[in-house]
């Protein structure tokens, strides 16, 4: 009897909780309706008609924006947004070709291919002031100014823009960079040497303009939030506080090509859990959700599934000299054996099962094309194909040359679930196809892997590379003797010579250069087996069928929404 008070109390509490929850649900439903009405600016009667005109896209990002300062940006999120809120001299088109954007037509190029003169079209910043040639000169020089401590400025400009290398090495002042505003509308860029892919670089985030007066006035505050920035692209950034998990892109009424832009609003939220992203997608709150891990398999047959091939290639990096001592991988036959000893088709379709495809070359598919639209990937055909017999033959030859009958090697990989699954597969395949081989797996976080790479403290590493510009050279240059990314003691004077020619004597002879690059690729993949291509990364995501015209790019910003629209919602 007395204790029943407690029971009453508990029951009351439960009832109140349920009541509150139910009320809350109603509120939420009302809020959503009101929001929609406000956005559409319409009443219920006309809602159906207006639905198609509601040009709002709701997207998910998997990470926050680290910075929107084009001189400091180094990450995919930053480059992606900059590509949509700003515009440089060039922009990647819907066909992924670099086409003039703020540059009014093609520039004039001096005969030696060193001096480019761009004339700017009439365009404005989001504050209504015109974009001038000085905005480019200022932004690029700012990216080279040691005080800015830009990482990508010197990385992208060295060897490209005149004096950039000297400035990076502290041998020249940043003011001596080869870029000059001749007048308000004319920009002169002097190159270090002829660069065949220079114009595609002009679409990259690091080469965007910045308005000097604005940046200086903002001081330390510049790019700290969406208010402390200026925009000259299809959209402006709004409601971004610098570290938050949500922001918006709004159509930029000052954009010179605003007629093309149909979307009025893009709402972003950072969601890191695939399950949550899928729930938001299912609920209709988001128009696109990327799928990872088991979700990719679960939705494999969904009609709203979209697969996209990225331009990142993953490969075995064979270290020939570990901590100063030669490894068995210094033997070309051992490298060939490992390259050919695992079935990458199965790896891509069964183990990864995320839209990735097996890689038979080092330069990815759908990345660079010649004038006739032929993919560079096709020049060399399939290399590094799985062949257990050839692998075994090379293995035995290699072992004999080394004078051993068995070998123990370590594979260094990442600590994610996918990496671990993949490494297990390698171990099983390699040990199964190469008698006498013992593989040990070392799975470490990314930072640790970088450290081990720098110190060359590994045997085989599962590494990946995404391009920084639209040219095979961004991949090929990795394996130059003593190059910063080499870290595996690969050295072939013939290869080095090819690299020199590709960006030197052949720079203006496009067909010969193309051929030389193909030769270089064949050399590292099929002749020296310096690296063993594994797969080209793919993406799987769910996308509502009414989302149209989103363009995915092979380098720089991942997507363009300039041409995107909503139809049939």
């Amino acid at each position: 009897m007395k204790n029943s008070k407690l029971v009453w109390l508990l029951s009351l509490l439960l009832v109140v909780t349920l009541f509150l929850a139910a009320c809350g649900g109603d509120d939420k439903a009302k809020d959503t309706t009101t929001d929609t009405d406000e956005k559409e600016g319409t009443t219920e009667e006309t809602e159906e008609v207006a639905a198609d005109e509601d040009q709002v896209l709701n997207l998910i990002m998997t990470a926050e924006i680290p910075t929107m300062d084009s001189a400091l940006v180094t990450d995919a999120v930053g480059f992606d947004l900059l590509n949509n809120v700003n515009e440089g001299l060039y922009r990647l088109s819907q066909e992924n070709i670099a086409v003039p954007a703020l540059s009014d037509g093609e520039p004039t190029v001096s005969e030696d291919g060193l001096v480019y003169t761009f004339t700017l079209r009439d365009s404005n910043w989001s504050d209504g002031t015109p974009v001038t040639a000085n905005d480019f000169e200022y932004a690029w020089k700012r990216a080279m100014n040691p005080d800015t401590a830009s990482e990508y400025g010197p990385y992208m400009m060295s060897g490209v823009i005149k004096n950039a290398t000297a400035i990076s090495n502290g041998e020249a002042e940043y003011t001596e960079l080869g870029v000059k505003a001749l007048d308000e509308k004319t920009l002169e860029v002097t190159l270090e040497k002829p660069i065949p892919y220079f114009l595609s670089l002009m679409s990259f985030g690091t080469f965007l303009p910045q308005k000097e007066e604005f940046v200086t006035a903002q001081g330390e505050n510049y790019a700290k939030n969406s208010e402390a920035l200026l925009y000259n692209g299809p959209f402006t950034l709004a409601n971004w506080d610098g570290t938050g998990l949500s922001w918006q892109l709004l159509k930029n009424e000052q954009y010179w090509d605003k007629e093309t832009v149909k979307l009025t609003e893009i709402n972003y939220d950072v969601v890191k859990e695939t399950a949550t992203a899928v729930n938001l997608y299912t609920n209709g709150e988001k128009d696109r959700a990327s799928l990872s891990g088991e979700y990719a398999m679960q939705y494999a047959a969904d009609p709203e599934l979209v697969t996209e091939l990225e331009t990142s290639v993953f490969y075995f990096k064979y270290n020939q000299e570990r901590l100063g001592e030669k490894t068995p991988l210094a033997n070309v036959n051992i490298r060939e054996a490992i390259t050919k000893a695992f079935n990458k088709e199965d790896l891509a379709s069964v183990v990864l099962a995320n839209g990735s495809t097996a890689a038979y070359s080092f330069i990815p598919k759908d990345f660079v094309f010649d004038e006739d639209g032929n993919d560079f990937r096709d020049v060399n055909g399939d290399m590094a194909v799985f062949n257990a017999d050839e692998a075994k033959a090379a293995w035995e030859k290699g072992l004999a040359e080394l004078g051993v009958t068995e070998l123990s090697l370590e594979i260094l990989g990442g600590d994610t679930e996918l990496s671990k699954k993949m490494d297990e597969y390698f171990k099983a395949q390699l040990e199964g196809n190469l008698p006498g081989l013992t593989i040990t797996l070392k799975e470490v976080p990314f930072n640790v892997r970088l450290d081990l790479d720098t110190n060359q403290d590994y045997d085989i590493q599962v590494a990946g590379w995404g391009p920084d510009y639209q040219d095979p050279f961004t991949f090929l240059s990795l394996w130059e003797t003593d190059g910063g990314n080499n870290q595996m003691s690969y050295s072939n004077p013939e290869y080095d010579q090819l690299l020199t020619d590709i960006n030197g004597s052949l720079a203006q002879d496009i067909p010969a250069r193309w051929e030389a690059m193909a030769k270089a690729e064949k050399m590292i993949v099929d002749q020296d087996f310096a690296v063993g291509p594994i797969y080209q990364r793919g993406l799987m995501f769910l996308q509502k069928p009414y989302v149209k015209g989103v363009i995915a790019h092979p380098f720089g910003g991942d997507y363009s929404y300039k041409w995107a629209y909503i139809e049939g919602k």
Binding site: N3, L13, Y152, Y155, T276
Partner: protein
């Protein structure tokens, strides 16, 4: 009492200083660099970037500078968020974490106490078994499983609450708070049940009963108060853990909290955020432990804060 508090505060500062020092050196022992594209930079350029962040100085100098800045309340700038100060970041991210933590803790502990009391008062009845069952579920199933379950049923299927995101005001905090509450609920109910059963069988309760005190009086006035003491002991660390953010729950509900940021900072070697959040968490825990000790004295006057000399 005043003497006790002064002494404790002094020790709190020493503890904080030691934690700051230990974290600093441990962090410096982490492999890798906080500079995201370090592998792409030439040695000269890397030196320029390192100089900007003071990473080119010898570690003792960096330590001294850090401590000096810390004394002035300056936690430095983040490496991940290139223009954000760590203090701003912590302040921005703390609100949601604290709200969820407080709600989760209050809800969990309140319901846990209720359940525990019912179980103790109705020992070996269906009420007791029911409450034990709930506690076992709460302890054995991790909060993220509850979170996923709640999200699916209450948000996706029944559409009562938002799926996630921090946009619908208080409604956004309901599901994550409930998920967070399950742990403290289970802990509190178990502690209260065990303690109350023990207290209820003690002599003074028998005396109270014989004097004609009713069940309600016995439960609340006598048994409950004594049963609270062990609960307060575990409540301190529990509160610190909850209020300073739960990584998994924040991630599942896409909430801009501090817990998730802390883990990310370790993965990316963001020294300033690692230091900032660790120090913040430690300070919080130190204060909570202190408050718990003070609470002991309030709940049970037999526990003398100054060792019986007052």
């Amino acid at each position: 009492m005043a003497k006790y508090i002064t002494r404790r505060v002094f020790y709190m500062f020493i503890t904080f200083f030691l934690i700051a020092t230990a974290t600093f050196f441990l962090m410096k022992a982490l492999p890798g660099s906080p500079i995201s594209s370090a592998s792409k930079l030439s040695p000269t350029q890397l030196a320029v970037v390192e100089a900007k962040y003071g990473l080119d100085q010898p570690i003792p100098v960096q330590y001294a500078k850090y401590m000096l800045n810390l004394a002035q309340g300056d936690l430095g700038n983040s490496f991940q968020f290139k223009n954000a100060s760590v203090t701003d970041l912590i302040i921005d991210r703390l609100g949601p974490s604290m709200l969820l933590g407080t709600q989760g803790l209050v809800l969990g502990v309140a319901l846990g106490i209720l359940l525990g009391m019912i179980a103790a008062l109705r020992q070996n009845t269906i009420w007791d078994y029911g409450s034990t069952f709930v506690a076992i579920i709460g302890i054995s199933i991790p909060s993220f499983v509850f979170a996923t379950f709640l999200q699916y049923w209450l948000a996706v299927e029944w559409k009562i609450f938002p799926v996630g995101l921090w946009k619908d005001g208080w409604m956004s905090s309901v599901l994550p708070s409930i998920a967070l509450a399950m742990g403290p609920l289970a802990t509190a109910s178990r502690f209260i049940r065990t303690e109350m059963i023990e207290v209820l069988s003690s002599d003074y309760i028998t005396l109270a009963k014989s004097k004609g005190a009713n069940g309600f009086e016995i439960a609340f006035k006598h048994a409950f108060r004594n049963a609270l003491i062990p609960l307060v002991t575990v409540l301190g660390p529990l509160a610190a853990g909850l209020l300073t953010g739960s990584l998994v729950i924040e991630q599942i509900f896409a909430i801009p909290g501090i817990g998730e940021q802390f883990v990310k900072s370790i993965m990316s070697n963001d020294f300033s955020i690692i230091m900032g959040t660790t120090l913040f968490f430690s300070a919080f825990l130190i204060v909570v432990i202190f408050l718990v000790d003070v609470l002991y004295g309030i709940i049970d006057p037999r526990i003398r804060l100054s060792g019986g000399k007052d």
